[in-house]
Assembly symmetry: C2
Homo-oligomer: 678 residues x 2
């Protein structure tokens, strides 16, 4: 059998994922949408979300065109094909976000309607909606990559020299395309969602004293649109790029070990993971009265278990004819295992630091009792402390994966960690769908029982999302590491000596970038929120009868403001991650750029953990107080906790999740230009 | 002339500094102390400060004894003398803090009394008080080091082999001693001062509604004691260790270049700087009605100008007989210059981000108008953004110094930057003296005119303190870099390849440490403040007539609580910086430890800039609003700004300034154990 034909397996697995997603999508479309009022609001949200995506993608197309131009002009001969890879990667990432969001904006209203009947039908609709996103992410991601790989290696040949010299370098562009889109989608979506959220809350809840999701609030539709463009589309593109980045990192290192089979092994493992994920999604079911968490956990265990079960023989089978490799099948399996275990552990630690009822969250809640200042300080304390254990776990896992299978093992650990991402994203996307359904129920004034059911679904999603964040940051660390090693090889460096001033200056500058980036993004949320506040106040002032519920607010104006702010503000941070590596590389040399990548990586990992966990702890401390502790809703403690939560919003939903994309995008851009720095 | 005798110059300069400090101290003691009420309060503050220092030093003695034991047992033969160096370094650092604080607690009351006569006498007393600290820091620092160097090189000889093999390794212990004391003093003092400050403010100002520094507040003496133990004694030990660290770093690298003269050049440059600083302090004088800022600036320019003027010929003269060196006198002078210019630039940038009336502070003030959440977000945004330019400046300066005089040039740049630290600390310590005088005036109910004068003096001190922070963090970066390179040589590593998993794991773990350390220290301030709040509330409840001013509160109980909290909480962070490097070094090897140092360094530099500048911006935004903007004192904007300021307190005065000591202490501990890791 020709080795290249092995690529048909991930190709097939990707297609299978898309087929299942397709059927789920049409199943959702067939579900009932409930009362007219519900449909009307849902249509407004859908229209806003699609309008945003259309504008966002317009900017992205311009950006992609510019990058393509640069790549075509900057490279020679066949290497120009890197531009093709880039475009395909960008397209796949964008498609994953688009399809997933379309499904989510159909599923939200149907979940709300299903929740009128009970928890079980609501869970089914919401999860199916999420799984369209989950399976699209892995489906599109692996489909494009396998197809390119197959075509390139058929055209140029699969001899290892050709592979390392041509096929792999041009295939790296695929990751760059996916990461670029992801960064814009994450940052743009994040600014939109948090700008709208903060704006809606500050004027609506605090100034006007109307409840959350009240239809009298002009920003309420924008807020719900934000959930879709940020938490669904942004998340989808984000995880699509993590997935692709991890695979590409190992492809490069596998090629460097001189084996075609090692180069394609990550694709095969990913294919196995897709099959396991698809099966896992079928296990999410519960009886009325059962606990949705158990249903989601069961699916998760099935997916992860099958993954390990299939991977073990697969690795042995694929590597059996290969001789003289420095890695053994057992070593590779252990690397996969160490990645998976590290991801789960980081998730559990994250859950400890941000989970409802755990010590850190209780401490933040208690500190709200002595005022806002102590609440903020406590949240920052928790966030900073929470970097400790995850970094130790990741450090140990990196080292173990290295002992098990060398540098290639580190890359494979990331693939192992992300192999069941199809299932993981299904759960991640299910959360915002349930959340949106709750908002719809509120706005359409459905029975309060409905809102309670969707809240129950949403709460479950939050826990799983925390674990998902552990996987995202853990895999980003491994992936960035392997891309970094790949960069070193591609740039022809014999090593990067950190005691060299060039390198250390690079490390210093690199470590600064995530701070400045975060500052800009957090500032953008503030500016977007400010514009939103002005508009909501204007409508309250100028639209007579609005607060009495006699007149309808101008929802579209608010959506428009959030859209414009997000699009405008995403450009500088998005561009900077692409422009800085070539700048430093061409001016300061390959070694300084290497230093820059390491500095950016470690700094970004710390900030990502710090911001995500501080934000999570503030959020849940507020919820804990809303549950009645320290005076409950409306008390001074509650007010302090609301401030903490608001500060945490841009931390955990805008700047924090952008960190891991930034470092991977910078790494892969460096990888693409590395041969020119020799 | 024997080369060793050159060491008599810094020895003499150190003695000269101490003599001047001695005369200034007795000049201060001779000044009048004013009304009985004033003297009584000042005595209480002095007693509290001295009691704290006594308790703090008791713990430090235990710690020093333990470290000495370990050093004696861990080393062999003459290398055991490293314990002697350690003890002398610890003693000198402690003495600098002690003498400086004694002077400050005498000068505060006399400044308050002098301010009754006018601005000029008050400025003179306050600055003379500060200069005792400034000159003690450099005097004790250089005296001990030169004496040890002279003795060791007389005993063992000054051939370069002996120097590198024995004298320099055992002399490194001096820096370790100074850094250890500094870390305890900074952290202990920082927890005391901010715990007392936050506690006094939250209950006194917010709950009881009495003004700042009101004698009815039981925590008011503790608050003023805190200014002395934190901002004066802590600062003194801190800059003493920066100074020594920078010199030791260059001594090691100079020795490695194979020249005795290069090894002692940093001491000679420091000696030149001391003379320039002493002269500078005589230029601080103004007429009544003149601006104190101008007086301080003049002294600063004189000190820096003379320093450069003297250094140029000195470098040429000392290096003229040396042949075949890789460094040139001109190159060294340029390295000194690049260090000095970088320090000034970082100071100016710091001043921009935190200065009264500048754009960032105005933005934070404006954001207070929309509430606490936006104030906090704006401060964090400013802090994160403020890492950008300083890091670029430091990166460029590092590279220029390297081009000018190699790795040794980087170390010498730090020495250049800190050479006028005698003058710099005089100004830094003058600020808290003026601040304390203001508090005394308030408590003793002196004419409000007096408070206005001391406030004017204090405001000037704040600007200069910002620039001082620039020097502290800038020199710490250079010093940590040179200690790192010295570590590499001492550990016999041919370089530290960052693409090795061992190293990268070290970098990751290292980058995490400053976060966990900050979390702990910030938490400690919170816990100390909490204990203080409870005590103040208890006194308000149980002491009848206290709020009506009929009964006196129990000041001593509050001082005691802050003391206990600070002593207890400083132990873990203090120990961890000393224990972690050997742990990682012996378990993970010399390369992992190298990675750890780099990771810790870059992470600490970022956090130091972020925390110091966010804290500074919040502080000045509050002051700007208190000046009448956005509703002025008592408005909602003001309340929001007060919260920001309170959050910033542990940032800028406890965790932030500890960062640079942590990285240097870790580096020098690693340097001391490096030969054992070969």
């Amino acid at each position: 059998m020709q080795d290249q034909l092995l690529l048909l397996f991930p190709l097939g697995a990707g297609l299978a994922a898309l087929v299942v997603a397709f059927f789920r999508y049409f199943w959702i479309k067939k579900q009932e949408t409930g009362a007219d009022r519900l449909q009307e609001i849902a249509a407004a949200i859908r229209a806003g979300a699609m309008a945003f995506l259309a504008r966002e993608y317009k900017v992205i197309v311009l950006f992609a065109a510019a990058v393509t131009m640069v790549l075509v002009l900057g490279e020679q001969g066949y290497e120009r094909l890197v531009a093709v890879s880039f475009l395909v990667g960008a397209l796949m990432s964008a498609l994953a976000g688009f399809v997933g969001m379309r499904a989510a904006t159909q599923a939200n209203v149907r979940t709300a309607h299903a929740a009128e009947r009970g928890l079980v039908p609501a869970l089914t609709v919401a999860f199916n909606g999420g799984s369209v996103m989950g399976l699209s992410v892995v489906g599109f991601g692996i489909l494009g990559l396998s197809a390119l790989f197959l075509v390139y290696s058929r055209v140029f040949g699969s001899e290892v020299q050709v592979l390392n010299g041509l096929v792999i370098p041009i295939i790296s562009g695929y990751s760059m395309g996916a990461s670029s889109i992801a960064l814009f989608a994450r940052v743009g979506g994040g600014i939109f969602t948090k700008g709208a959220d903060v704006g809606a809350d500050l004027v609506g809840k605090v100034e006007a004293g109307i409840p959350e999701d009240d239809p009298r609030n002009p920003a309420v539709i924008a807020d719900n649109v934000g959930d879709n463009v940020g938490d669904v589309a942004g998340l989808g593109s984000d995880l699509c790029e993590s997935y692709i980045g991890a695979i590409i990192g190992s492809v490069v290192l596998g090629g460097a070990l001189g084996s075609f089979r090692l180069a394609i092994l990550p694709l095969l493992i990913a294919g196995v993971g897709i099959i396991a994920s698809i099966i896992g999604t079928f296990f999410v079911r519960t009886r009325e009265g059962g606990h949705p968490q158990k249903a989601l956990n069961l699916g998760s265990f099935v997916a992860a278990g099958l993954m390990l079960l299939f991977t073990y023989p697969a690795v042995f089978w694929i590597l059996s004819p290969e001789q003289g490799l420095v890695v053994t099948p057992l070593g590779l399996f252990l690397a996969v295992l160490s990645g998976l275990v590290a991801g789960v552990l980081v998730g559990i630690i994250t859950e400890y630091y941000t989970g409802d009822g755990k010590k850190p969250v209780l401490a933040v809640a208690r500190s709200s009792h002595t005022g806002t200042a102590t609440n903020i300080i406590a949240g920052i304390e928790v966030g900073m402390q929470s970097t400790g254990l995850p970094v130790i776990v990741l450090g140990l896992a990196t080292y173990l994966a290295y002992l098990a299978a060398g540098l290639y093992g580190i890359a494979i650990a990331a693939v192992g960690m992300l192999s069941t991402v199809g299932y993981q994203v299904s759960v991640d996307a299910y959360g915002p769908i349930a959340d949106n359904a709750g908002g719809l129920a509120e706005m359409a004034k459905l029975d309060p029982e409905v809102r309670m059911r969707t809240d129950k679904l949403d709460a479950v999603g939050n826990t799983t999302a925390a674990i998902g964040k552990g996987f995202a940051i853990g895999s980003a660390t491994f992936t960035a590491l392997s891309l970094f090693v790949a960069y070193e090889e591609a740039a022809g460096l014999p090593g990067i000596d950190i005691t060299q001033p060039k390198v250390i200056v690079g490390v210093l500058m690199g470590a600064m970038l995530p701070y400045v980036f975060s500052s800009f993004v957090i500032g953008a949320v503030g500016r977007a929120a400010f514009a939103m506040i002005e508009e909501v106040r204007r409508q309250f002032r100028s639209i007579k009868g609005l607060l009495e519920g006699k007149e309808k607010p101008d929802y579209v104006a608010c959506v428009d403001i959030a859209t414009k702010a997000a699009i405008r503000e995403m450009i500088i941070p998005g561009l900077s991650a692409v422009v800085i590596p070539p700048l430093v590389g061409y001016l300061g040399g390959a070694e300084m750029l290497g230093g820059l990548l390491v500095g950016a990586m470690v700094s970004a990992v710390m900030l990502a953990l710090f911001m995500a966990n501080a934000g999570g702890a503030w959020d849940n401390a507020k919820k804990y107080i809303e549950g009645g502790a320290y005076g409950g809703k409306g008390s001074e403690s509650h007010k302090a906790a609301v401030v903490g939560d608001t500060v945490g919003d841009p931390f955990k939903d805008t700047a924090g999740p952008a960190m891991d994309i930034v470092i991977k995008l910078m790494s892969v851009v460096s990888l693409v230009i590395a041969p020119n720095l020799r």
